[in-house]
Symmetry: C2
Amino acid sequence: MKTIVKKFGGTSVGDVSRIKAVARLIDTYLSTHPGERVVAVASAMSGETDRLIALARSCVAKPSARELDALVTTGEQVSVALLAMALSELGRPAKSFLAPQIAIHTDAQYANAQIMQIETERLQSELASGVIPVVAGFQGIDQQGNLTTLGRGGSDTTAVAVAAALKADACYIYTDVEGVFSADPRIVRGAHKLAAISHEEMLELAGLGAKVLHPRSVDFAMRYDVPLVVLSTFKPGPGTWIIREEELMEKPFVSGITYRLDEAKVTVSRLPQVLVALPRLFEALSEGQIFVDMITQTGVVSGRTSVSFTVPDEVSERALAIVQKLAPDVGAEGATLDRDIAKVSVVGAGMRSHTGVAARMFSVLSAEGIEVGMISTSEIKISVLVARKYCEVAVRALHDAFIGDGLEGSVSLSVER
Amino acid sequence: MKTIVKKFGGTSVGDVSRIKAVARLIDTYLSTHPGERVVAVASAMSGETDRLIALARSCVAKPSARELDALVTTGEQVSVALLAMALSELGRPAKSFLAPQIAIHTDAQYANAQIMQIETERLQSELASGVIPVVAGFQGIDQQGNLTTLGRGGSDTTAVAVAAALKADACYIYTDVEGVFSADPRIVRGAHKLAAISHEEMLELAGLGAKVLHPRSVDFAMRYDVPLVVLSTFKPGPGTWIIREEELMEKPFVSGITYRLDEAKVTVSRLPQVLVALPRLFEALSEGQIFVDMITQTGVVSGRTSVSFTVPDEVSERALAIVQKLAPDVGAEGATLDRDIAKVSVVGAGMRSHTGVAARMFSVLSAEGIEVGMISTSEIKISVLVARKYCEVAVRALHDAFIGDGLEGSVSLSVER
């Protein structure tokens, strides 16, 4: 008998009528898939977590991390109880389960806990007796039984972890989009939904700005080999499967073109002794809790080297201040900030076996007269910085060149699920 | 070292500013009582439980009992997390604890669970390390770890049960009144706050309409010998101590005069065979889940007996219908309902050793021209039914006769706490 985990995010359970719609969706699924059992995972109703955090901040200036987690976990508790009620009313026996009840063990890092282990005894016995377990996402308990939360993307991670623990056949992530697209459909008219991509591609896409799935949950799914599918709660459709690369029948050269606008570039100019300077610069940024993404250094000119790196835009002023303060010590001429950038990326598992993607990418951009700033590469992606005003043109040109108006069928699943 | 449990009801934690006021109250108490440790117990913010129940009912017509309990326990979870935050901000280390965390074991009767056992290990270790445990009232877990709620008066019961388990020195119940009064101050000008009464008296008072404490928590306090004190969150004062009768220095003849207007009287007329009829009538009422309070039968007239009983007003029509349906079978002439009644009671532990209270009560009422309907007595109270319009007059006359404008000092504690 197949077991399927189905996860519903905040907008999917955004109000009582949507919770009832989710219950009907599960009911219909079970009616049309007689050999399957479902475990539901739900987030808090959208806006609820923010409301609770605001309540805490209206009470005290700096809420204790332990109590903030105890407070915000009520958000999921409300939605899973309501969803279980709604399922029961449709004649589908259901029970809500909170982190302490099943139990979802995490480390003790409040607000950003890592799942260590999920016990399956209770879930298995409920499933065996025909009950739909409705599991609260985002929450866990540490060794002392304190409530913890998993941080951003937490409910996706809960769903994947529950699926891994139960050795479920698949984990369905219901969102407000129909799946993963070859590019942002608001920018590229020819962008199409992908039928399937590999975990690695999804990780690159997630990290590069496709907001469908949090990288943590994809990483978890890859490590525990959980087949994921991303699909819409509101519009029926097959969604996008995220599966092992080996299972992809045909590896497309390039699966998608992504972009992000939330980074800024800092440049430290003309360092005399780059080997001494670099560690000092990046240690200082690390101490400042600043996450650095791309890093490049320009060729040596008159014995001096310039270094550029990108950071999240919201900390870019702070990053600049840190390196400006260090500049005299390391002999740099100064530091500058450029917030007017976009990062455009080409992602595809097929790159592993095809060469020349970078060359073609540069030639496409060059033909559009778009200058490329920094470059970074991994096995399955190439990212470049361009001036922000050229972002849309670059994405469109790259989509036309690498993907075109290809039909969805160009990417197909090797296995019928 | 003394341990004190302090319980704060829904109005006491009604909003963020009140939660902060409660934190300051505890802070001040600890500053002025250096040898003591405090465990706080809190209800949901007032209105929150009702809001959650309404949310459930907006989702489904008949919410499952298990899920309704899972839903409403979030109310206490929010208030204890906020109270723990507020205490921490005042420099008083505090941690919230939910039922599964400490653990508060109950039976599996959702919405009306009974506390079976409370484990104290975690609470004791937190207290030993200088932490103020802030315990969620009203909630428990059954043997399977399902969340349960304790029903009406639940948070008071949690507080008393925690105090009993910890063998605490006292349990302070903070409410929006200053204590227990000798009569309703809105009716009797001379009514005064009692310094102390026995558990038994409080049980009678609670059962008779004084809404200060739920009888369940008083019963619990009596059985486990927990000294209780009822006092105001908003107005400093010593409150009313509820202690063992033996500890009362002086047992007043009569402690208080109470009344309730929420009962109605049903009379079944002229039963020919009362021994056969009575069991059938009261079995039928019991099957109808109707709680009967007072019962009397009139003397035999022409071989026939009439029986009257009181029931909660909101089920009185249903009770009437039940006995009317049975009337032909048991040979009764008919049944009538009188909703225009009041139950007035005189309560006092001193009655045990004083005779003549009933006689004096009847003579006082007679002097006012008030006819007495049904009568019921216990060791420490006498209740009579009067026409509703005479309720206030009866309460005032009885207060004048038995208690007068006595100063609070007339009742004093045998031990300094």
